[in-house]
């Protein structure tokens, strides 16, 4: 009966109804934003102690930006957790600290160096040694020590094939492990975050975004990102098909020469393994244009993914980001 009434009012005012129905459709970025905000609010409602896993990379910066919007005018209710490998770009750490100040949020740092010093993990040997895999132990320790029941990440399904089947709400057992064959079905927008003591969840609010979407969103929102993403002069060596930055951790081969190039980074990881690309893109607009014309995936310059066909899948099962 009430429905009939509301139908009638619509019929009585057709111009108004028509006008608004034209506006009542979201563009794809608005819809992705709305979905991510919904997911972040579900996290806040369903978990006791959620944190944002903050790497200093653009994806975790976008997630933090979305969290700020999701709870405005209240303050961002999540602490930021950073797994510090000790092999950082100095710019990343500076950026992190500034952001924490402006948010008034709490920062939790898990230190890979401490894990090494405590004998929890052993440093890899050789020229291509990285601390990438060591982060898993530090991350899981930090999650346990801080009683975290949900770690929000910036992972996207388009990044890598093992991520294509990841859920928004991804369950981890009490060893922090992911079981890709036993994932909870996820239907409509009903997210089941129920878990037992000691288990936790990884939640990925920007699962459905592509690299291009992230850049378009950063541009649209004017989000501040580390200077490393913009083209700049830097000392680098050519290794594994990309420009690896010179740093105190780099041990060049006799065959490798350090040169100065104008480069930028498409993703940010450890300074020891993140390769730059030659670029002239020194504004957000130019970056968006460059990414749109790009013919290589962004993780193509990450030595951590090049180790084997299933490198990401194997690390994820153990508890990687």
């Amino acid at each position: 009966m009430f429905k009939t009434y509301s139908m009638q009012t619509q019929l009585l005012t057709p111009p108004d109804a028509r006008q608004s129905s034209e506006r009542q459709s979201l563009n794809y970025l608005d819809e992705l934003e709305s979905e991510a905000i919904y997911v972040l609010r579900e996290v806040w409602a369903q978990f006791q102690n959620p944190v944002i896993l903050f790497s200093g990379g653009k994806d975790s910066i976008v997630v933090t930006h979305l969290a700020r919007k999701a709870f405005y005018p209240a303050r961002i209710p999540f602490a930021l957790m950073h797994v510090d490998t000790g092999h950082n770009f100095p710019e990343t750490i500076q950026f992190r600290d500034n952001l924490i100040d402006s948010l008034g949020a709490r920062l939790i740092v898990g230190s890979v160096q401490e894990s090494i010093d405590q004998g929890r993990v052993a440093e890899e040997k050789g020229k291509n040694a990285t601390r990438n895999a060591l982060q898993i132990t530090t991350l899981l320790d930090a999650i346990e020590e801080n009683g975290v029941d949900c770690a929000i990440g910036g992972g996207r399904r388009d990044e890598e094939k093992a991520r294509a089947k990841e859920r928004f709400f991804s369950h981890r057992d009490d060893f922090g492990q992911w079981d890709p064959k036993n994932q909870r079905p996820e239907l409509w927008n009903l997210f089941n975050g129920k878990h037992f003591e000691g288990e936790h969840f990884r939640v990925f609010p920007i699962s459905n975004w592509t690299e291009m979407d992230v850049w378009n969103y950063i541009l649209r929102e004017g989000i501040d990102i580390p200077s490393l993403y913009f083209a700049h002069e830097r000392e680098v060596v050519w290794r594994n098909q990309s420009w690896i930055p010179n740093s105190e951790f780099l041990v060049p081969d006799p065959k490798e020469t350090i040169v100065t190039k104008k480069v930028r980074f498409r993703t940010l990881g450890d300074i020891t393994i993140t390769g730059g690309i030659e670029s002239e893109a020194d504004t957000l607009e130019k970056i968006v244009q460059e990414v749109a014309a790009m013919r290589q995936t962004e993780r193509g310059n990450r030595a951590d993914d090049k180790r084997s066909e299933t490198a990401m899948e194997d690390r994820k099962k153990q508890g990687y980001f």
Binding site: F2, K3, Y5, S6, M7, Q10, S20, S21, Q24, S25, N27, Y28, D30, E31, L32, E33, S34, E35, I37, Y38, R41, E42, W44, A45, K69, A70, F71, Y72, P73, A74, R75, R157, D158, K161, A162, A164, K165, K181, Q183, R184, P185, E186, L187, W188, N189, L190, N192, K194, F196, S207, N208, T210, M212, N216, A292, R295, Q296, T297, G300, T310
Partner: protein, 418 residues
């Protein structure tokens, strides 16, 4: 690159083993230039290793290690591509009978379903199942792609026969919009580019269809529903009296000044303000995430639903639903489960199995009351407290729910209110 006014379209793909589903998705990605060079190189390398001729497009959608080893898809995988007209999300779901649960999952959020039919085999049992699930999950648009037309000499007659077969059984289902396209995913006919081999086909190729089909009406714009996710109470001087009800509009439109009811309490108030991600708004519509403020101070918390006072959902403890069981462990008669519906949670019990669908014949079986993995049944549920529901066909958000087993915390069933 997508434009500012580009919409997002989600579609799901269903096909039997060897219908060429992975090849079709590979073709869409490849011809729309969504494949990167390093991905292409990797696939060329693997194709050569396996002794395939040319590039095996199906390899683009290969996922986890077990799947690659067995050459099958075991779980829903999501793919993305963008054209100047739209952004697309593909829920790539396996078509084996034992994976009904994955098809239901992929279908739950889809605007459109692509159902693949092998031109040599015509409509088979699995095709009917795929159509049935599309209809059950109320996917607004169904596109039937008759694939492998190159293997039947691009015959118009073969295509027409399949169209008639499909329409014959689909007329009994509730599918609002069905289209048919003759394609060859392998050769590229009518996927992205119009086929030169089938001049008799007057319609648009698949991609153009996906780019232009009208989807703005897929969302219910009439019945205003706002499930409350959480309450925002800033602890700052500036917003000392702010009390915002955060949530995502499930359907309909809310405007400042609207008289609204809060369910289940039934208290009435008016909308004072609407805050969107970029600041104050005059109105909010689905699927926007906003927060609402009301004129009156009412006790509202997560799980409540704000609706327009003159258009309310049904508040009930007794529900009839179409239920799909998703778990290895069968349903326990009269056991209690946690029911999750919008942002609300209640305990619920399966009281009675009305009938079970025989997935082979799509007929109703009233004798069989056992509910196991991949079973689809009509059941009666009883909740401990009233929940606010709409008919699923009217409202996919307020008409859908899941059941969670408290002993394992696993999601064991998905259900649609009928």
């Amino acid at each position: 690159m997508a434009l500012d006014n580009s919409q997002l379209l989600r579609f799901t793909t269903a096909g039997s083993v060897d219908d060429g589903k992975s090849t079709l998705i590979g073709r869409l990605l490849y011809d729309s230039k969504s494949i990167f060079e390093d991905q292409l190189e990797a696939v060329e390398h693997t194709s050569k290793q396996k002794g395939h001729e040319g590039v095996d497009l199906a390899l683009f959608t290969d996922g986890l290690r077990d799947e690659r080893e067995q050459g099958i898809t075991i779980d829903v995988a999501y793919r993305y591509f963008t054209t100047p007209k739209r952004k697309f999300i593909i829920a790539d779901t396996p078509g084996h009978i034992q994976y009904t649960r994955n098809m239901v999952t992929g279908a739950s959020t889809a605007n459109a379903a692509i159902i693949l039919v092998d031109a040599r085999h015509g409509v088979i049992e699995q095709t009917k199942r795929h159509a049935f699930i599309a209809s059950l999950l109320h996917i607004p648009h169904v596109i039937v792609c008759v694939n492998k037309m190159d293997l039947v000499d691009f015959s118009e007659q073969v295509f027409q026969e399949i169209v008639e077969q499909f329409e014959g059984f689909a007329s009994k289902m509730l599918i609002p919009d069905i289209r048919f396209i003759p394609i060859s995913a392998l050769k590229g006919d009518n996927v992205v580019n119009r086929s030169k081999n089938m001049e008799w086909y007057q319609g648009a190729p698949l991609l153009h269809t996906l780019e232009t089909m009208h989807i703005s009406s897929d969302i219910n714009k009439v019945d205003a529903r706002f499930p409350v996710q959480t309450v925002l109470r800033p602890q700052s001087e500036e917003f000392i009296d702010y009390r915002g009800y955060a949530g995502r509009v499930a359907s309909g439109v809310f405007r400042i000044g609207d008289t609204v009811s809060v369910l289940p309490s039934g208290f009435t108030s008016r909308i004072k303000g609407i805050d969107g991600p970029d600041g104050p708004l005059q109105e909010a519509f689905a699927p926007q995430s906003v927060s609402l403020t009301l004129e009156d101070d009412i006790d509202i918390s997560r799980g409540d639903m704000i609706v327009r006072a003159n258009n309310q959902p049904e508040a009930t403890q007794d529900l009839e639903v179409m239920l799909c069981w998703l778990n290895d462990k069968p349903a326990r008669p009269r056991a209690k489960y946690t029911l999750m519906h919008t942002t609300n949670q209640q305990k619920a019990m399966i009281r009675e199995v009305v009938y079970k669908i025989d997935i082979h014949t799509l007929s109703r079986n009233k004798e069989d009351a056992e509910i196991g993995m991949n079973d689809i049944c009509k059941v009666k549920l009883r909740t401990t407290r009233p929940i606010m529901v709409d008919d699923y066909r009217e409202n996919r958000t307020t008409g859908s729910l899941i059941l969670v087993d408290d002993t394992t915390n696993e999601t064991v069933a998905a259900a649609m209110v009928v």
